[in-house]
């Protein structure tokens, strides 16, 4: 029996008659890097919005450790140990990188005891993600990659046990992929944070994740080791259609 950090059971939500997620069930073991993939509109971001309390599920249970999350406000969920980044990147644009991180430190799971302590911790985190040289630049003057890293550092500043990454790599220059992957690995290895990660670049997920979940039309299509999922005919069909499936197999 393995321990689970996050258990989602029968999770459903609909918006104006459209069933965005249907009875999705899965578990995540602590200390893993778990990838989640699926074509556009599969419900990946919706799933993140449900876990973080931005949307309320119409049915189902989300269990984090020993507490149920559904119905709690996002700030409570963050303070219980789940942090996230957003698909399009949403750092606080009216602040510097340092203040973004300080905000996370002051409001997260274990709010810093003093401003001085928070200041040291912010330096440490900015150094961890490699952004210390640009700590005092306004976020609005940073490039896309740097903005996404600021958002990542802000999420880490809330001291999560589970980190949800929504397409961290989207729009990045291919040269930036390797450093970003390295940071994600170090988040798990050095900070001990479990990573749950949406990404469209399949190669990246295949090489980095230990477990993959595939969503399609709001339902879980497949789950397992990356190689096994890649070989699953249903997954190939979802991505490439029937013809693609024949060619792939």
């Amino acid at each position: 029996m393995t321990a689970t950090i996050l258990a989602v059971d029968g999770l459903s939500v609909s918006f104006g008659g459209i069933q965005a997620l249907q009875r999705v069930t899965f578990e995540i073991a602590p200390g893993r890097i778990v990838g989640i993939m699926g074509p556009n509109g599969a419900g990946k971001t919706t799933l993140f919005n449900l876990i973080t309390g931005v949307y309320r599920p119409s049915a189902g249970v989300i269990r984090f450790g020993d507490r149920e999350l559904q119905g709690l406000p996002p700030s409570r969920i963050c303070r219980s140990g789940i942090a996230r980044t957003f698909q399009s990147g949403r750092p606080f644009m009216n602040m510097t990188a340092r203040d973004n991180v300080l905000t996370g430190l002051l409001y997260g799971q274990q709010p810093a005891a003093s401003r001085g302590e928070a200041g040291h911790e912010a330096e440490r985190l900015l150094d961890f993600v490699g952004l210390l040289p640009r700590a005092d630049r306004p976020v609005a003057s940073l490039n896309l990659m740097e903005r996404k890293i600021v958002e990542l550092a802000r999420a880490l500043a809330t001291r999560p046990k589970l980190l949800l990454l929504d397409e961290l790599m989207a729009g990045l220059n291919p040269n930036d992929l390797a450093p970003a992957i390295a940071i994600i690995r170090r988040i798990r290895d050095e900070l001990g944070v479990t990573v749950f990660w949406i990404e469209h670049i399949m190669q990246v997920l295949m090489n980095t994740c230990e477990h993959l979940i595939v969503l399609h039309h709001g339902e879980k299509l497949a789950e397992g080791m990356p190689q096994a999922v890649a070989g699953d005919p249903a997954v190939a069909e979802a991505y490439f259609g029937k013809k693609g499936r024949r060619e792939l197999v």
Binding site: T52, P74, R90, F92, M93, M95, D99, L102, Y107, R154
Partner: protein
Amino acid sequence: MKLDPAIVGGLLLAALLAALPRWLSAYHVSLLMTVYMYVALAGSWNLFSGMTGYVSLGHGLFFGVGAYSFAIATAVFNLPPVVGLALGIVVPALLGLVLGLALLTARIRIAYFAVVMLGLNEITKTIVANVKSIGSSYGLTLPSVNSRYLGYYVLLGVAVAVTGFAYAVQRSRWGYGLRAILADEVAAETTGIRTVTHKLAMFVASAAFIGVTGAMVSWNWSYVDPYMAFDLMVSFDMLVMAMFGGFGTVAGPVLGAVVMSIVKEALSTSVPHFQPIIFGVLVIVLILWCPGGIIQAFGAARGRLRSWSRPRIGGAAP
């Protein structure tokens, strides 16, 4: 402990202003009172709308409710003016709490919020104008201020308190939380910030400060009617002054209120009939010219001066 130059400077200025009235004419004392009133109003509006981004078009509602709390306490129930002033804080604060719970807990759009506040001001004006026991549209006559500089000191005190409060909030943990809400409410909430609590607290604080300002001003008028107390110009003036000075900053609304109330006064004594027109054009030009307020314009000008003074040869940054 290190002394904060902003606090020391602010307190010195306040002390200087407090010593001033005995050397001033009655006209200049009342001019300064008007300036303090606008500093208090623009600063209070900024506490909520400037710091959270929820622009309110009807914050004068709390001014009117504060004025009428004072008026009803003193003129209808013959309570001492001190009690009237206290009610001028408590009643608007409670109203702010109730309205805040209704408007700010639901995910109301910012544009709707602005218009709802405007509507509430008008509704309250109409209701007050139709209740006989509180003077209906004829208004109420209030006891007059029995001490010469009382209004001066109360309004100066409120202006200093609002500014000090804004400064303390911005420097505290809440300053980070509010800037986060201003930038992106969903991201703020998922970063652990209780956005509703933050908005609600600032809404109640701004209602209380505006309320006591309304109470003191109505006492100074020694008369109050619904059209003065709930005049839409009160709502607009505080907004325009805060925006003109600089949205969301501490010094901006103070500077905006000082400059604009003096310009307004100068225009209405020199060209009384054209004052609203000239004032309106001025506001439009200034807001188009520097949407971040004069505080930002100063900052930009300083930056430009600095870049002029830097040697231009080579081009590379050191």
